[in-house]
């Protein structure tokens, strides 16, 4: 009996991500959710600008590549064009929380019936390790070589907390993928975020706290430890909003 195999919603193409990069893992979780919910035929994904720009090479669903930060707006256009389609946006922290913050907030504020998957690894990966809106205080990056100085560039943005202040979003949860236990929760959250859309419940957002071993200049196992010891204390995991629970 097969206990675990590659989801059919992932193509066979080898992923270009660095060793230990969480993108591949989150791709697998998203693909698995699409498989389990049997929506591969009607799912349309929106790829970001950033390391996941080639997501359309990996997901075996129809995909469209957005300009930097605009994935939620593009997803809105796709979803409004045909509300019977299941539409998700997959974005990193620079894309979603910096250049695309306007689109992020307003798509949530409209309560678009979409699924947004947000990879927060506290750094710009594709361009080679610059400071992200979610880089931790003191974190050394290529553009904060002396550590993120909160007195000059402010504090990291906690996106779940921010979006949870809005009335319209249906479901907002932060998960991590640095351990088996956390991966299990992430699988559940991402599946729920798609299930909500299928049921027409509205905007569902899952932030995944994730490792970028290459740009953090750490071994993958150490990077996952850093997620546990540094990231999660700043970005607490859990449900920030769930209208299912309010009923």
């Amino acid at each position: 009996m097969i206990v675990f195999d590659k989801p059919k919603c992932l193509k066979d193409a080898p992923m270009h991500y660095c060793p230990g990069c969480a993108h591949g893992l989150v791709h697998r979780i998203v693909a698995q959710a699409v498989d389990e919910l049997d929506i591969q035929d009607k799912t349309i994904g929106v790829a970001p600008v950033g390391c996941a720009v080639f997501a359309y090479n990996y997901f075996d669903v129809d995909m469209v590549e957005a300009s930097h930060g605009r994935a939620p707006a593009v997803a809105t256009g796709v979803k409004r064009a045909d509300p019977s389609r299941i539409v998700f946006a997959y974005q990193g922290d620079g894309d979603l929380a910096s250049i695309g913050m306007t689109e992020t907030v307003h798509t949530a504020a409209r309560g678009e019936n979409l699924t947004v998957i947000f990879i927060n690894n506290a750094i710009y990966g594709m361009t080679g390790g610059q400071m992200a809106p979610t880089s931790l205080p003191g974190q050394i990056t290529q553009t904060s070589p002396y550590g993120r100085d909160v007195n000059t560039v402010g504090y990291p943005v906690k996106v779940c907390e921010l979006l949870a202040t809005l009335e319209a979003p249906y479901y907002i949860e932060r998960v991590a993928v640095n351990s088996v236990k956390n991966v299990r929760r992430a699988e559940k959250a991402i599946r729920k975020a798609f299930q909500n859309q299928i049921e027409g419940k509205g905007y569902s957002f899952v932030e995944v706290v994730a490792a970028c071993p290459t740009n953090w200049k750490m071994k993958p196992v150490d990077a996952n430890r850093w997620v546990e010891e540094q990231m999660i204390p700043y970005y607490p995991l859990g449900v920030f909003k769930d209208k299912d629970e309010q009923k």
């Binding site: 009996m1 097969i2 206990v3 675990f4 195999d5 590659k6 989801p7 992932l10 080898p14 992923m15 991500y17 660095c18 060793p19 230990g20 990069c21 969480a22 993108h23 591949g24 893992l25 697998r28 351990s179 088996v180 991966v183 299990r184 071993p213 071994k219 993958p220 196992v221 996952n224």
Partner: protein
Amino acid sequence: MGKITFDSDLCKGCGLCVEACPKGLIFIDTGTLNQKGYHPAATAEDAPCIGCAFCAMMCPDCVIKVEK
């Protein structure tokens, strides 16, 4: 009794599966280089795998198939 199979040529040798295995059955095979030039993860032929799939759940490249 479980069985794990690696698609070794796609493995990037990140070692997350090594860390995840509760039985400590997986190792990075430093004696081998795969097509991509990485030392791939491996396990002994007769390793007493319990089929928990923790390794596969942590694998970023979907390299591991687990049977039970």
